[in-house]
């Protein structure tokens, strides 16, 4: 599509109308600049900043949070449509007809993310002060954390897909750096590399989607793309949507690009909490939610999203049942919970907001649990094996309490935040109607039961039962810098769901300008209260089974090997790596070998033949190179004679 | 720039109009054949006579300086000594070494002698006179590039020495020849450079015009040029204290060790004529040529024609006396000292001086308005530069060759290069850097 036609589309477009930033909102760039500046200072000043680097890192994020809060209140003072605030910064790529403007979009959706990132992020920063206290590279850690926060803020604040992409890559870089923070550990270095590579696969999808957008609309800005979205062909929309989904899968560790997340737990626990639980892995959800006008055009793409979400939520939950590594259990839980979000944003208009509610609640309770896990590890000399825990609830009461808050939230215990977020999604899945609704709803329901099972297992193995600590481990409660954030986040885990549902119009209402109004679909298959009871029942069954298995019986120090095939498979992360290897790596390897063979015998054969020809002939010709200057001179002389002959002939003619 | 070269407005306040007695290049080329022949013969005779006189004079003067009498038996005051020596030399047995390269051995003395005579062809020995009705200058000929001619002759004359030394097939002459070659190549540079200021002032390379340009002021006021020229000339003619090619103490007789009889006499002749020639050039270029000195130049009769011959001869003999005086006074330099003097002092000094003269000439010729301000500043600058350049170093160069450049020497242990001990390196006291004890 030509540029002029696309600009015509722009003019007539009926997409969201953004208002220009005024007043406080012109400072939105400061939100990003603060952590970025801090990151630059921390990474460039070197050891001189060791003494105060962590404080600067925390302060910058908290300042951003305060600024974000101020903006939230300013935004609440505006009416609905005026809440879509766009701030143009500068002309980024003015290359002929290809004009890319750099700008920031501050709307309810990005505002939600800003507060989540800076709020939860700030808590985790504070937590890290204690957690990383003994690490000689703590300053660098904070620098990279700040870099991550800045990139994540750019991701959610950018007003075009290209800006988003910069942030997208930025968080990928920061994630790589932070997973590999202890790069002297080969596992950490490998995990970082793996995360980076798998993410690249997703990024290719996103970049292709952006290119496709540019080819279609002539622009990559949200305003331009969305205003033209309703007039584009469904096939194009499906293509863009599926490519965006691929990007989201990579970043959010969704099936089939989920394999990196488990390995990413090699990074420091605050990283797992911030990046791999609360914020970065939700970027895919943000992307799909943000791109809702595109998905609105293509039901197929949306179906793809729901399938990915449903598969992943079961997938992650299954893996979570099998692992003994506390962080990996939480990671697979994350995978599963993000699957719920993806499912939610895949179901369609009116349910987007539920996904975001789940996202925020998950941010709280999962961060709580990760920090709790970090606290437990801190107390047990960085042991991550749950079989070596047990009976920690008395020794680490704060950790236990906050973790319990997160636990109750995640399994959807009534009036805890998960109850309001996850259960709504299951209901929405059932409410979608038809076969797909039934299947998706059942999957989500089953997932809730499995979630209850593995989380109960985790609780039982960690905090109950007899101590199974290794020698020399004497657990005690973590320092206040660690417990304080856990308490704050734990409170969030308890109350966030209720707050976001019942205060004012709730988060869903707040998000209406960005994501459209929450619709009431066809009348529910099962009544709402019935659904709630069903979900609770399933979760209770899961929890009870886990309690019987792990709470009542003593937990052996090593995992049993004579287990069913399913358990073995789950312990291998359902063969995610093996599938990757079989589906991608091996064919690629064989293709490469075939190409090498062809290269060696086909291309090189021709080249070598040519070379042999040249070499053979020059082998004879080189005899001319006698090393005797006088022979060369004779040749030169002959050449000069030829020139003279030529000149003479030229004169003669 | 062009103005500087093509026209010759002198910086001197006023230049007297060229008198009828002054010659220019255009004066020449009109003589009848017999007159040219006469001049050539006259110059030849003049040179031979002055050589004979010089042989006597040198011996007498050196003898006086050494509280001796010198030759005083042959003729009045022993004046016939030179002639007697010449006859004796010519009649001696001629020995040709078996190892000699005969053709070269033969032509070497000739090659040495001819350019020595040739160079005198462009020396003006007097003003314009009338000979049998022909108005002509007392000079065989003149060229627009006469000074270059003289330089060419002197540079060619050294072939005689080099070839003679080589053709003898003997070691000492060869060493003498080598020294001579290096010496001539080195000193010709400073000699030629010393002459360039003259060209800048005279605006010509013709000897007669240079002499004419000295009508009022002699170019001897270009003192650095004069000094450098004289020092270089001594080096160029292999005279003491720069007579290294024939250093008796080391090389027996130097390049002419194996020569005898008439061939040796030719070398002898060539050396004295060369001495005469460079003195004549000094006279011509720096001492006003045939012009009468100072106040006498105001008298027209004394400053023209045949009188010029007298003044010229007197000046020439004065300069020649200087040569003899040097020989009687100064010890011979060592070879490396000699080379250092040439390359490290004379050439840089003449370059700096040339730059200074050129700058002054440019200022004068271009009539720079600021010259009143610029000239003093420039002079101060150049003086400072000279001071800095030639300020005697507090470090004495090591005379007995034990240390290079006076730096403390570092004893070489088992390492290939004399490098200082590196930090952390094993310092074996026997290998440690130490100053070599000076004798």
């Amino acid at each position: 599509m030509s540029v002029t036609a696309s600009s015509a589309l722009l003019v007539q477009g009926a997409g969201p109308q953004y208002v220009n930033a005024t007043g406080l909102f012109t400072l939105s760039w400061v939100l990003i600049a603060l952590p970025l500046l801090s990151a630059a200072v921390l990474l460039l000043t070197g050891r001189r900043a060791n003494a105060w680097g962590h404080l600067l890192g925390c302060a910058s994020v908290l300042c951003s949070f305060v600024l974000g809060l101020a903006m939230l209140f300013a935004m609440l003072g505006r009416s609905g449509p005026d809440r879509l605030i766009d701030q143009h910064l500068f002309s980024w790529i003015p290359a002929g007809s290809f004009q890319v403007e750099a700008g920031l979009l501050l709307d309810p959706l990005s505002m939600t993310f800003v507060l989540l990132i800076t709020g939860v992020g700030g808590m985790i920063h504070i937590y890290s002060i204690g957690y990383m206290a003994h690490d000689p590279e703590r300053r660098r850690f904070f620098g990279e954390l700040n870099l991550f926060v800045a990139a994540m803020l750019l991701l959610v604040l950018g007003d075009s897909f290209l800006t988003l992409y910069v942030g997208w890559e930025g968080v990928g870089l920061a994630s790589y750096l932070l997973i590999g923070f202890w790069s002297y550990k080969p596992t950490a270095a490998t995990a970082a590399k793996k995360a980076f590579l798998v993410n690249r696969v997703g990024d290719v999808g996103l970049s292709l989607a952006i290119m496709l957008m540019f080819a279609t609309f002539g622009t990559t800005s949200f305003a331009g793309v969305f205003s033209g979205a309703d007039r584009m062909m469904a096939a194009t929309a499906t293509g863009i949507g599926l490519l965006l989904l691929l990007g989201a899968c990579g970043k959010s560790a969704q099936f089939p690009l989920q394999s990196w997340l488990l390995d990413a737990m090699e990074g420091p626990t605050p990283v797992s909490a911030l990046i791999h639980a609360a914020t970065m892995v939700t970027a895919g959800v943000y992307l799909i939610a943000r791109s809702n006008p595109i998905f609105d055009v293509s039901p197929n793409a949306r179906l793809g999203v729901t399938i990915v979400g449903a598969v992943t939520l079961l997938f992650g939950a299954t893996i979570g049942c099998a692992y003994d590594d506390i962080k990996k259990v939480l990671a697979s839980s994350t995978m599963s919970q993000v699957g719920y979000m993806i499912l939610a944003v895949g179901i369609g208009p009116g349910v987007y907001a539920l996904g975001i509610v789940q996202l925020v609640c998950h941010g709280f309770f999962k961060a709580t649990m990760f920090l709790g896990a970090g606290s437990v590890m801190h107390a047990t000399k960085d042991n991550v094996n749950m079989r070596h825990y047990g009976g920690l609830r008395r020794l680490m009461p704060i950790t236990f309490l906050t973790f319990t808050a997160g636990y109750l939230a995640i399994i959807g215990f009534p009036f805890f935040s998960g109850f309001y977020s996850k259960d709504k999604i299951i209901e929405a899945a059932f409410d979608k109607g038809g076969t797909s609704g039934l299947v998706l709803g059942s999957a989500a329901l089953l997932g809730a039961g499995v979630t209850a099972y593995y989380m109960t297992r985790l609780m039982a193995m960690t905090f109950f039962g007899r101590p199974r600590w290794e020698e020399g481990v004497t657990p005690n409660e973590s320092p206040r810098s660690m417990t304080m954030p856990m308490i704050v986040l734990g409170i969030g885990a308890v109350f966030a769901g209720a707050l976001l549902t019942f205060v004012g119009d709730g988060l869903a209402g707040f998000l209406t300008p960005s994501l459209g109004p929450a619709e009431k679909g066809s009348p529910p298959v099962i009544s709402a209260s019935g659904q709630t009871l069903l979900i609770l029942a399933v979760a209770t069954v899961g929890a009870v089974i886990a309690y019987l298995q792990f709470g009542r019986r003593s937990v052996p120090d090593t995992a049993r090997q004579d287990v069913p095939v399913v358990v073995t498979a789950a312990r291998q992360a359902l063969y995610g790596d093996a599938v990757n290897e079989a589906v991608f790596m091996r064919p690629g390897q064989y293709t490469t070998r075939a190409l090498v063979f062809f290269d060696n015998f086909g291309v090189d054969g021709a080249v070598r033949g040519l070379a042999a020809l040249v070499g053979g002939s020059s082998g004879r010709l080189r005899r001319v190179q006698t090393g005797f200057v006088r022979s060369y001179a004779l040749l030169m002389f002959g050449g000069a004679a030829l020139v003279v002959i030529g000149l003479t002939l030229a004169y003669a003619i | 720039m062009n103005q500087l070269i093509s026209t010759s407005p002198l910086s001197l306040p006023s230049r007297a109009p060229v008198a009828a007695t002054e010659a220019t290049v255009s004066t020449f080329g009109h003589d009848p054949w017999w007159l040219i022949l006469g001049k050539v013969v006259a110059v030849f005779v003049f040179l031979v006579l002055i050589t004979l006189f010089l042989i006597w004079a040198e011996r007498r003067i050196v003898a006086r300086m050494q509280q001796r009498l010198g030759p005083n038996r042959t003729g009045p005051f022993g004046l016939g000594q030179g002639l007697a020596d010449g006859i004796k030399l010519a009649l001696k047995e001629e020995i040709i070494p078996a190892m000699a390269d005969k053709p070269v051995y033969f032509i070497a003395p000739i090659v040495a002698t001819i350019p020595a005579f040739l160079a005198f062809a462009v020396i003006p020995v007097g003003g314009v006179v009338s000979i049998f009705g022909h108005v002509t200058a007392l000079q065989v000929t003149d060229l627009p590039v006469a000074v270059l001619f003289i330089l060419a002759c002197s540079s060619f004359g050294v072939y005689g020495i080099v070839l003679g030394g080589w053709a003898s097939g003997s070691t000492y002459p060869l060493l003498g020849a080598l020294r001579s070659a290096a010496q001539v190549i080195s000193y010709e540079v400073s000699l030629a450079l010393a002459l360039v200021p003259i060209f800048l002032y005279a605006g010509s390379l013709s000897t007669s015009e240079i002499v004419a340009a000295q009508n009022r002021f002699w170019f001897v006021f270009l003192v650095p040029s004069f000094v450098i020229y004289m020092v270089s000339a001594v080096g160029e003619t292999n005279r003491a204290p720069f007579d290294l090619p024939e250093a008796e103490g080391e090389l027996v007789g130097g390049f002419h060790t194996e020569y005898s009889s008439l061939k040796f006499a030719l070398f002898f002749l060539a050396e004295y004529i060369n001495m005469t020639t460079v003195s004549a050039v000094a006279t011509t270029l720096f001492l006003g040529g045939w012009h009468a000195p100072f106040l006498l130049s105001r008298v027209p009769v004394l400053n023209s024609g045949w009188f010029g011959l007298v003044w010229f001869t007197l000046k020439l003999l004065t300069v020649l006396f200087g040569f003899i005086w040097l020989r009687g006074t100064l010890p011979r330099l060592r070879y490396d000292q000699f080379m250092r003097l040439g390359w490290k002092l004379l050439i840089p000094a003449s370059l700096v001086w040339l730059l200074l003269v050129a700058a002054m000439r440019t200022l004068v010729v271009e009539d720079v308005n600021l010259r009143r301000n610029l000239v003093p500043v420039g002079i101060v600058f150049v003086v400072l530069l000279l001071l800095v350049s030639f300020w005697p170093s507090s470090k004495k160069p090591d005379r007995d060759g034990e240390g290079e450049d006076g730096h403390p020497e570092i004893a070489v242990g088992n390492r290939a290069f004399p490098v200082p001990v590196l930090p952390g390196e094993q310092t074996d006291p026997t290998l440690a850097p130490r100053e070599v004890t000076r004798a």
Binding site: A641, Y651 | P144, V145, Y159, T171, L178, A181, A192, A439
Partner: protein
């Protein structure tokens, strides 16, 4: 020589030179060609150098005859005086020991060179002949009106000033390059006189080497001294002279070396 410079300034027909110049040309051109050929064929490098000097002098004369007096003397001063002197200097450093062998070692090189040379000369002359057939000689009378030196100076310092400066830089570089190339690094401290004396005694030969020549009728430096038993005293003749005498002619007057004596 003195009159040559004026030959060029004399007026002459456009195509023709003066008779004097023609005489000089026909006198010197054969000399130049013969000298050049002799230079190529001469076995001793020094002779070659001398003959080349002769060629250069002839060319200098031609320059003078062709209204280039400045160049003529620069030719003598720079080429004959400096460059050829440098050649002689180097020859004495490196090539005094023997005459060159003229036996050709590269197969076909000599024949090819001679044939090629002849053919090339013929071609070149033919080319010049066809090129100059329509030539008009303008002469330098106008260009040299202000004097040859002045004319050259004017061009040199205006149109060719950059080339002039570039060549000056080249000369400096060449001088430094030659110094660097021929510089011998002193790796160990120079032996002092004391050390030299000590070494001489340590070597067991404190006295000077035997001097040359013990015959009454031969006291030349290349005549070896004899030991009491009549054999040649080793080291009594400088090695350079030994190789020269061996290379140049046999010496019947030198006693044949005794068996087992060190060969010179």
């Amino acid at each position: 020589m003195s009159g040559l410079a004026h030959l060029g300034t004399a007026s002459y027909a456009l195509q023709q030179t003066t008779k004097g110049e023609a005489v000089i040309f026909w006198l010197l051109a054969p000399i130049a060609v013969l000298a050049a050929m002799a230079m190529v064929l001469s076995r001793r490098a020094v002779h070659s150098a001398l003959l080349l000097a002769v060629v250069m002098l002839c060319l200098a004369t031609f320059y003078a005859a062709q209204d280039a007096p400045f160049l003529a003397f620069v030719q003598v001063i720079v080429y004959t005086g400096a460059i050829m002197m440098l050649f002689l200097f180097v020859l004495m450093l490196v090539g005094v020991s023997s005459a060159d062998s003229l036996v050709e070692t590269l197969r076909g090189q000599r024949a090819a060179a001679i044939l090629g040379g002849l053919g090339f000369a013929v071609l070149l002359i033919a080319l010049i002949g066809s090129a100059v057939s329509s030539m008009t000689v303008r002469g330098l009378t106008a260009a040299n009106a202000g004097g040859n030196v002045q004319g050259i100076a004017r061009l040199l310092f205006t149109r060719y000033v950059f080339a002039f400066e570039a060549t000056s830089a080249l000369l400096i570089t060449a001088a430094l390059g030659a110094m660097v190339l021929t510089h011998k690094e002193l790796l160990v401290p120079k032996a002092t006189q004391r050390q030299l004396a000590a070494r001489r005694f340590a070597d067991g030969d404190p006295s000077p080497l035997p001097g040359p020549g013990v015959y009454a009728d031969h006291d030349a430096v290349d005549t070896p001294a004899l030991l009491p038993d009549g054999s040649v005293a080793p080291g009594s003749v400088a090695p350079v002279l030994e190789s020269m005498s061996a290379a140049r002619f046999p010496r019947p007057d030198v006693l044949p070396l005794a068996e087992g004596d060190p060969q010179p």
